[in-house]
Subunit: 561 residues, 2 copies
């Protein structure tokens, strides 16, 4: 049965309108509560092609250690062969497929629920997409008028029988089991699924159709959480418009006549970015079906267009000329691929930080997810033996093909995973989690800077409370925004969590309704309330989570008993 | 020799920035002075194709009485096979052609002078244009940045020898000769040339490339003066974006599944027009090479985007959903084709009105060119026998294929010229001009309305000083804006001009420096100064024109002597 009135999990953290304003106070509540009502993008239906073996393709890719570039190329290709179809009434899956198959072989499809039910359908060939689009009609509506802009976002009509189920997982179970299991379950539950990842590339591809109208050679690539391996379901979709493939064509003939395009001249690269984003933003706003709340933020340090893509449920940020961010994404992806403990620890720390209001989606003096990730990486470099190598080491391993200088910053590091030799560290995730809290509870933040390039703390070059060197733009501090109040809260919470985990070691998981292990860490803290301004909401949330855990325990007993 | 620092004539009446503000006062001066420095778009070079016989093609078309629709289709086709090339240094024509011919046969080309020298080159096939564009490079510039938007506006570089001349006509001579000759010379001198007309369609076609990026099935057509046959060199380029070919596709399948594009819904056709024009305006502004001063005037009764297209020198207005205006254009075109005296008389009256400040390019209480044209048409319907038929007669001749209802207005009239029988009126242009002034000097404006549908004055339905029924939207008054001061000036000037022409009849043209015939009418009036606010500028202008006529007379004597 369809649960029509429940949005998928990532809607809970998608800021649409007033939801955003509520978030500061409801943060803890939603983060925890959503764990128990999550509806994830779930692959369903028969497998239609041998090339697609299981929904665990992304795990297979991890074993291969595919480069981010190769992954992106593959994903883009899938996206360009895909269409997004709104199923306004309930669909007979068999008839639906039969109808679409008239245009060519379907390679992959899945349904998901957003504002209504949608299907992503990937064809084996682009010609099938063209054929499908040719057969589509303009909506005939009497009351309203329509902007006749055609895209790969379609609606299917006149559907007959019901045969649709969306799979829902109850994450409550995930927090039972030993700490190691809890961490792995949390990671699995929150990380981007195959389907969610495809949908992100599809949204990029739909937006590329808009940009390509004027810049046929451009590409739009996701960056940040959507592709660095640390993205949580519901994270924003950051996109990067690459016009360099166009600007690159500057052939100069040797002699005689030559023709040049007449082009508008402006006084900076930044002005071009602003021009291009202004037009794309206008187009998304005026023509883009399902695109809402479009904001052109063109005077920001990094100009962007922000909008909600309702059919996918993603909050989107489109930037251009943001190459260093692309390199950071690649580096984080690489670190995540090197050892499975990296992602699990990052996911756990991020969830912990979010549930205590250490991080926030609202700009402010908070620690960002990016800073937190760098802190985890730095911690893993400081183990004995280190779990991951330093950035300087990765740079030393780089060949000429890896060389990358962007705006004066050396962004070179090895991209061939096989060249990287890891040391033999066998610590468990539970140990690492515990050590992480201890490490940062006692870190000499007042004197030292966190530096993943050297893999060693360095003397602070400036007086910000928290100093984390930007991995590529080394003169910058990633956490310049963090004030001492927020740093103090972080340290206090590390200390408390470290203590709580030590307490747990003496007990074992049983069917007690008391939160245990990782769950303890995600509960309201005794120390975190200090100056966080969220005290009032904490009590009811605490009560609620206790009762949820209780009911889950009962369900569990019924199942196992 | 190139006269690099002289702009073509139509620049003089092209409002760019402050030029517009100056116009009220400088109007008479420029109108008259420009007659003597005009540089028209002039066809040059060898004839490259048998299909193109002479620059008098438009006269040939007049004999055929081609419908406006057929003319537009032909012009659009030419435009889509053409490119616009800026020749930044002096060009060897032979080498220029040899270079371009590598991409295919050239059907037609001509040079003209705007801000620099430009060439319009029409190829025999569209593939040649694609081939040419593929060979073009992105400008490599160090100081500035460029917006990499590719269009058919190009620059040619690295040119060697000089072989270029632009033909200039001195219109001073045109005002010598008998009145009949003067009128014909004036018409010939001011009406759009073959080249200017091609350039107008080319600008539409370049703009269509921009709109077609999102609406591949759209068309952009010029309307108004650019195509109705009454356009003067330098008149604005009014364009109409037609999206109806897209909206038209609303096939409804009989049963089963069907796919529809998801499209943005808005609450009116007007809102669509605003959306589309907003995006196109943004694009023209941000990407359009040579497009300057872009204004989005979206809240006007008829939303539009206004900009200067510098390479052509045209002031452009782009509207959408303006179908009645398109029909008015077609009607005026038809009347102009029916009898050669129609255009000549309209040209003369328009020039006369402009030189006395009866019309103005600035919105206000002035009589518009459109109103003036309707007045001429009405006058010609009132002759005995009538020179042109009434609109009701044209409607009665219409077949089912001519039927046209637009927003509740009956815009039906016959479009097949051969069905129209004209009566035998042999009046000369001089007679008609004289009678026109007499007709309107004594017209009972206070009681009667001008009505080309009936071809007979009607009782005024409302109290505006001047009432001219809109030919299609019959409840509207075309000249609602005109106040009684302006109408009084018009009547006084008609009376004065009528008297001046009567005086002329007694003398014959000789080589006297005193303005004669039509020239007298275009000189400052004794009565026109009343309440026109232009008195101060008139004396020097009057002096100037006298000295110009004197110098022209001397040149003439030298040539003939």
């Amino acid at each position: 049965m369809l649960h029509k009135h429940k949005f998928p999990f990532w809607y809970l953290s998608l800021p649409v309108g007033s939801a955003k304003r509520m978030r500061t106070f409801a943060l803890f509540l939603t983060t925890m509560a959503s764990s128990f009502t999550v509806c994830r993008l779930h692959m369903r239906g028969r497998i239609l092609s041998k090339r697609y073996c299981s929904s665990a393709l992304s795990s297979a890719e991890k074993i291969e250690c595919k480069s981010l570039h190769a992954l992106q190329v593959e994903r883009q290709d899938q996206a360009e062969k895909s269409v997004l179809i709104s199923c306004q009434s309930r669909t007979s899956e068999k008839k639906f497929l039969k109808f679409l198959s008239k245009h060519g072989d379907i390679k992959k499809y899945f349904f998901y629920e957003s504002y209504g039910v949608y299907a992503v359908v990937e064809f084996a060939s682009r010609d099938s997409v063209s054929s499908l689009l040719e057969s589509a009609t303009i909506p005939s509506i009497s009351q309203e008028s329509i902007v006749p802009f055609k895209s790969r976002l379609l609606s299917i009509r006149n559907l007959s029988s019901v045969n649709q189920q969306l799979n829902r997982k109850h994450l409550g179970f995930l927090l039972l089991g030993c700490v190691e299991q809890q961490i792995l379950s949390l990671t699995k539950a929150y990380q981007l699924t195959e389907e969610n990842s495809r949908l992100r590339f599809l949204v990029c591809s739909l937006l590329k159709d808009i940009a390509a109208a004027y810049f046929p050679e451009c590409t739009i690539r996701p960056f940040g959480s959507s592709v660095n391996g640390f993205g949580k379901l519901g994270c924003d979709l950051d996109m990067f418009l690459d016009l360099d493939s166009i600007s690159g064509v500057c052939l100069q003939p040797k002699s005689g006549f030559s023709l040049e395009y007449q082009m508008k001249r402006v006084n900076s690269e930044r002005a071009i970015t602003q021009s291009v984003l202004s037009v794309i933003g206008e187009c998304v706003d005026q023509f883009g079906p399902g695109c809402a709340g479009v904001q052109k933020i063109l005077n920001a340090r990094c100009p962007l267009v922000r909008f909600s893509h309702q059919p996918s449920g993603f909050q989107c940020d489109l930037t251009a000329n943001n190459r260093v961010a692309m390199k950071s994404t690649e580096l984080l992806y690489l670190y995540g691929e090197l050892d499975p403990r990296v992602r699990s620890l990052v996911f756990t720390i991020r969830s912990w930080a979010r549930s205590h209001g250490i991080t926030s989606s609202i700009p402010g003096a908070w620690i960002t997810n990016f800073s937190l990730t760098i802190m985890v990486l730095f911690f893993l470099q400081r183990r004995g033996p280190p779990i991951i190598p330093t950035l300087d080491h990765l740079r030393d391993l780089a060949g000429p093909e890896d060389r990358s200088m962007i705006e004066g910053s050396d962004c070179t590091f090895v991209r061939d995973f096989s060249k990287i030799q890891l040391q033999n560290n066998t610590e468990t995730l539970e140990q690492l989690l515990c050590e992480f809290f201890e490490f940062y509870a006692t870190f000499p933040f007042s004197r030292m800077s966190i530096n993943i390039r050297k893999g060693k703390e360095q003397n602070k070059p400036e007086m910000s409370p928290l100093h984390i060197q930007n991995p590529f733009e080394t003169s910058l501090n990633v956490s310049k925004n963090v004030n001492s109040t927020q740093l103090d809260r972080f340290m206090a919470l590390c200390q408390e969590s470290s203590w709580l985990l030590q307490q747990n070691k003496t007990s074992t998981p049983n069917n007690t309704p008391t939160p245990w292990g990782l769950a303890t860490l995600l509960l309201p803290s005794q120390v975190a309330g200090i100056k966080s301004g969220k005290k009032r909401r904490r009590e009811p949330a605490s009560e609620r989570i206790k009762s949820l855990l209780e009911s889950l325990k009962k369900q569990n007993q019924e199942k196992t008993g």
